[in-house]
């Protein structure tokens, strides 16, 4: 099928009324969730996932994706206006965004981050379109051993770049794998770890875990701890427009940031956070006067914002072409695909062209919507920041309760979500990152299935994972990464200048 035909199918799919409506709702919700500190995007997607059960699969994924990349726009608003990031990937925008606001240039900063975000997203979509079909072709040649190795690499890679201790994140990944074994084993039909409870024979729902681990845990951590928001001034449209010099200053950072973002987004295990921090570091490194960073350098806000949006789009590449999620949100997207009966993997582009290309076209449509939402309509979001957290979190809690119930019409799930809320909080206190757990949970069943299949095909020869060249190469990378994690754990580097010393709340947010 030619590219032109694919585009036509994509446009047909994305231009349907329900697709357009849900795209708009998704990106709006995503921006909202990104704007407000204390409300996590991962929890939002987990909460809304059950609502998508009744939609067509294409529309469901368009909706969820909209929340994801929409979040990449709004996070910097609070960074610029209040020195308080809405989400972790926007933390670095505080460094130069807030000084710009104090210099009276808040409008300019907001405009440039919105435009940078748009450019980054479009760039990311282009890369997605260019690289996905060939990558899928490569992926089709993968056998179970290769997939096992690739998934394992993705999981270990995610642990190694996570905030905080790589060793602990690795533990989290494995715990996620273990939670994934609860339920009926695909290969043998034996129900595992159900402890006599009927509902556990059906495995623990991904959404329930996500809502507990990210929604409730976040609330437990944040109540009484989200600072009172001072009233930010209104932003006029005129104050937003940049001078020609400022435009020229922004072009190179956008290009560099976009490149960095596209790369880290596509890599399984790294995402928007790494992309934005790295882009900032790159700008500082290549700048002719690095001293201006931290005092309102335009490059310091444009590059990270372009990067995190580009990463938000290219993050879909491994998910859609290989079925390997790059971060916890992609894990939920994958889960959503599975729930709708769509098998993720290299055959997805060929088997479901409407879904893939419709999603791609919806990315473009969604980003245009976001540009409009974030420039002329920016005052809406600014007003949102005024809502005190104490009115927001009960909404989150009650929605989690109802949402969890509606997955399986089961009251038992409500106790499960409460349990995971507590468990998540304990993990947080002990310094464990919860996001890798979700990755392990989604990939666990598939990882085990591939492992068993590879072993059965090879008649019990475990060396098959190493003798197949691709699988072997990937496993070497896995061992190297594990070695690096171990080394890093016992020989920590001297603290270098890097991302700003954020308060512990933002530091441990590895959600997008």
């Amino acid at each position: 099928m030619s590219f032109f035909d694919s585009l036509i199918i994509g446009i047909e799919t994305a231009m349907q009324v329900d697709a357009l409506v849900y795209c708009f709702i998704g990106v709006t919700l995503g921006t909202l969730v990104g704007v407000i500190p204390g409300i996590g995007g991962l929890a939002a997607i987990a909460l809304l996932l059950p609502l998508t059960y009744y939609m067509k699969p294409e529309v469901a994924i368009i909706f969820i994706a909209g929340i994801y990349y929409g979040g990449a726009y709004g996070g910097s608003i609070a960074s610029i206006l209040l020195n308080l990031p809405g989400k972790a990937s926007a933390a670095v925008v505080c460094l130069d965004g807030y000084p710009l606001a104090r210099q009276g240039k808040a409008g300019l900063a907001l405009f440039l981050t919105a435009v940078g975000s748009f450019m980054g997203s479009i760039g990311g979509v282009l890369i997605l379109v260019l690289f996905s079909p060939p990558l899928a072709v490569v992926g089709l040649k993968f056998g179970p051993a290769e997939f096992f190795a690739l998934m394992l690499l993705g999981l270990v890679a995610a642990s190694s770049v996570a905030n905080g201790s790589g060793l602990k994140s690795l533990a989290m990944v494995f715990v996620g794998l273990l939670i994934g074994t609860i339920g009926t084993d695909i290969n043998s039909g034996v129900p595992r770890f159900h402890f006599g409870i009927l509902q556990l024979r059906d495995s623990v729902s991904l959404v329930t875990v996500a809502m507990g681990l990210f929604g409730l845990t976040e609330v437990i951590r944040s109540v009484n701890n989200v600072p009172i928001i001072m009233k930010p001034g209104d932003i006029t449209f005129r104050s937003m427009l940049p001078t020609l010099a400022e435009v020229r200053q922004s072009i190179a950072p956008m290009l560099r940031g976009g490149g960095v973002g596209a790369f880290f987004g596509a890599l399984p295990g790294t995402g928007m956070d790494v992309a934005s921090f790295t882009a900032y570091a790159v700008e500082k490194r290549v700048s002719r006067n690095p001293q201006k960073f931290g005092h309102g350098a335009i490059e310091g806000i444009v590059a990270p914002e372009t990067a995190n949006n580009a990463a938000g789009q290219t993050a879909f590449i491994p998910t859609l072409t290989l079925g390997i999620p790059g971060d916890a949100v992609m894990a939920l997207v994958l889960g959503a695909l599975i729930i709708h009966g769509i098998a993720p993997g290299p055959s997805l582009i060929n088997n479901e062209p409407a879904l893939f290309w419709g999603l791609v076209v919806s990315f473009v449509i969604g980003n245009v919507m976001l540009l409009i939402l974030n420039i002329p309509l920016i005052t809406i979001w600014v007003r949102m920041l005024l809502i005190p957290y104490r009115f927001l979190y009960p909404v989150v809690v009650i929605f989690i309760c109802f949402g969890t119930f509606s997955i399986n019409n089961s009251v038992f799930d409500i106790f499960v979500v409460a349990g995971f809320g507590v468990f998540g909080y304990v993990l947080l206190l002990l310094g464990f990152e919860p996001a890798p757990l979700l990755l392990g949970l989604v990939l666990g069943p598939m990882l085990e299935e591939r492992m068993v299949r590879a072993l059965v095909i090879s008649h019990g020869d475990a060396t098959v994972f190493l003798t197949h060249p691709i699988s072997g190469a990937l496993l070497v990378c896995v061992f190297a990464l594990i070695g690096w994690i171990l080394y890093d754990s016992f020989h920590p580097p001297a603290p270098a200048e890097g991302p700003p010393a954020q308060d512990p709340e933002t530091q441990s947010k590895m959600e997008f």
């Binding site: 609502l51 201790s165 060793l167 602990k168 690795l170 533990a171 494995f174 715990v175 794998l177 273990l178 074994t181 084993d185 290969n187 043998s188 034996v190 595992r192 770890f193 409730l216 609330v219 437990i220 951590r221 109540v223 009484n224 104490r390 009115f391 979190y393 009960p394 909404v395 809690v397 009650i398 309760c401 109802f402 119930f405 509606s406 019409n409 009251v411 409500i414 106790f415 979500v417 409460a418 809320g421 507590v422 909080y425 304990v426 947080l428 206190l429 002990l430 310094g431 464990f432 492992m451 068993v452 072993l455 059965v456 008649h459 475990a462 171990l486 754990s489 016992f490 920590p492 512990p504």
Partner: protein, 150 residues
């Protein structure tokens, strides 16, 4: 020997979890052979890996510099968890509206700065919101008020 409590506790948690899974898998599920892996193989291997990581974390806790335990929000944890558990207990027995009200009420108790009036307003507003969205919108098959209105 200085002990970094956070690390040691975390490592012990992983150790305990991994060991439990490992032991349970070996005792209750068949491991099978390499050519025919059984249901117990994967959990046992992963459980064992978790044990290993737990040990490493504990070891690191013994050698790494002391770090502070973050502040434990007992009140938050207790009240938020209680609110969700209360929902689970009352949802079918009392119906959508009463359970929502109770849950929101308990959840708002966690915030120290909320006035009684604000709390009342929040309970009423959110109960109405979820009734509209979930009872009339989504059509959840649970009575509005059990025994009184469906």
């Amino acid at each position: 020997m200085q002990l970094n409590l956070r690390e040691v506790l975390g490592g012990l948690l992983m150790f305990g979890l991994g060991l439990s899974v490992f032991a349970y898998s070996l005792l209750h599920y068949s491991i099978g052979s390499m050519a025919r892996p059984g249901p117990g193989l994967f959990p046992a291997v992963i459980g064992f890996a978790v044990v290993g990581i737990g040990v490493l974390i504990v070891v690191r806790g013994a050698v790494a510099p002391i770090a502070e335990m973050p502040k434990i929000e007992w009140r938050n944890a207790l009240l938020i968890t209680l609110s969700v558990v209360a929902f689970g207990l009352t949802f079918r027995r009392l119906g959508v509206a009463p359970s929502a009200a109770i849950t929101v009420f308990i959840a708002t108790l966690a915030d120290r700065s909320m006035t009684h009036l604000a709390r009342l307003a929040t309970v009423i507003a959110l109960t109405l919101l979820v009734v509209i969205i979930f009872k009339f919108g989504v059509g959840i098959r649970v009575p509005l008020i059990a025994g009184v209105i469906y």
